[in-house]
Amino acid sequence: MTTSKAWLLDFGYGLQAAVGYNEMWQILMSPKIFEIPCTPKYCNQVLVFQDRILPLLDISYLLIGKKSIRDDVVGIALYQDDAKKPVKYAGINCASIPQSINVSDDQMCELPSELQYWKPFCLSCFYRENQAIPIINLAYIFSLEFNSLQFGWK
């Protein structure tokens, strides 16, 4: 049985998901946030991190149309569009500090019907403390392809 480490992310409103242990670089408390006009409401802010301007994703707004319950906890996530391309960074609003957890193969499960709103960007899912936890496909959620699907443009 294989066990992997992951980060459990809490977005408030009962929304939880996980990312791979190597996909969360750092947690920032109360970073300076800037609003950018003419952007989707679920990603209308940026922050500056190590001289990069990063998008800040509000997953609760994306999923259920409710703004993140806190704006002072930001996870800096890493993802790659392609294994040959450089790593990219992005901010994710969290409702609490992400928690390091262990996930084993025997915890894996199907995405339950009541969590189907995660499906477009869910890599897989596992059970933890009687709750199904989706694993987020970060590269897809930050991609133009996903954005195009949301807004029907290319």
Binding site: I36, P37, T39, C43, I53, I141, F142
Partner: protein
């Protein structure tokens, strides 16, 4: 990538827009521009890039090859190294948006727009 590294910073309602200087026909005070007798479509925007009625602006910026203009509180010419300008993340793009890139400017974030795209956006407001 943008082709020109000389920009005008257009400030209004705490929003900074960065437009290539080559896309701008002229910058004048409103009183001087009025004396020219030109009939331009003049837009006054808030920080959300929506039309507002505030009268804080002193300057008028006329875009090249158009009779479309934007009111601004401050206008400054700056040179920016292309490496400082970052493409707007794909997740933040909307087809109607005139913003293509972002750059840090005076502890703020300035939004980079091409003149033609900004004019197109203004004419749809």
């Amino acid at each position: 990538m943008l082709l020109n590294n000389i920009y005008l910073i257009l400030k209004f309602d705490d929003r900074y827009l960065l437009v290539p200087q080559s896309d701008i026909e002229l910058v004048e005070t409103i009183s001087t521009f009025t004396q020219y007798g030109l009939e331009a479509m003049v837009f006054n925007l808030n920080k959300d890039l929506l039309i507002q009625n505030s009268n804080q602006c002193k300057f008028i910026v006329l875009f090249k090859s158009t009779m479309v203009a934007l009111l601004c509180e401050e206008v400054e010419k700056i040179k920016i190294d292309e490496t400082e300008i970052q493409e707007l993340s794909p997740v933040m793009r909307l087809s109607k948006s005139p913003i293509t890139h972002l750059v840090t400017y005076k502890d703020q974030i300035a939004c980079v727009c091409k003149g033609k795209t900004l004019v197109k956006y203004l004419l749809k407001l």
